[in-house]
């Protein structure tokens, strides 16, 4: 599964994207897995209320299922316009 990070999430994790093997059933499960990896992930995912997630390029919630998902992206609230 491709995991993408944007804005300060990218900066805290230290890379823009990575491919990982996971059996996480939901986005929240995936976040738990990442948090457990290393301190920089724990820092990036410290406050989920400050984060947004997209699964296969569609905005969704942290309880969204990951079955069949190819790409998960984490980022702060958008500030375009």
């Amino acid at each position: 599964m491709d995991i993408l990070y944007f804005a300060w999430v990218r900066e805290r994790v230290g890379l823009p994207r990575e491919r990982i093997e996971t059996t996480a059933a939901t986005v929240a499960d995936l976040v738990e897995e990442l948090r457990a990896r290393e301190e920089r992930y724990a820092a990036a995912f410290a406050d989920l209320s400050a984060l947004r997630v997209a699964v296969d390029q569609e905005l969704t919630d942290f309880d969204a299922p990951l079955a069949g998902a190819r790409e998960v992206a984490f980022f702060p609230p958008m500030t375009g316009g």
């Binding site: 300060w8 390029q57 702060p76 609230p77 375009g80 316009g81």
Partner: protein
Amino acid sequence: MTIRVQSSPFDVGAETSDFAAAQTGMGAIVTFTGVVRDLPGDGLERMEIEHYPGMTEKALAAIADQAQTRWSLGGVLIIHRYGTLRAGDQIMMVATASKHRAHAFEAADFLMDYLKSRAPFWKKEYTRSGAEWVASKDEDEAALTRW
């Protein structure tokens, strides 16, 4: 519907002309142009806009689709830049056309509200004293409840 995500500047005059010329039977054309503002105090050295290639185009098209469902529109144009911008640079524009002026106004206003909170762009401001990600505003999220 035209969606463009680009690092290069755009010519708001030429875009407005071309958009207007492409409409037929429309009585009202509204454009909105967003411009990078300088920062008080230190001043803005530059702004970097990051986006999510692939998702950005889809998200903008989905927002334009919603507008076309809710209002009776002719054309819809969205241009948004990414990369390095400076104070005074035009960052994005939307244009809407409709037979009725209220539809054109409301649709453009709606596009802006959704684009701000639902399209994957992030701004980072660089000043002499450092760099900071622009925080989203509660009022931007709250604005969505108008629609």
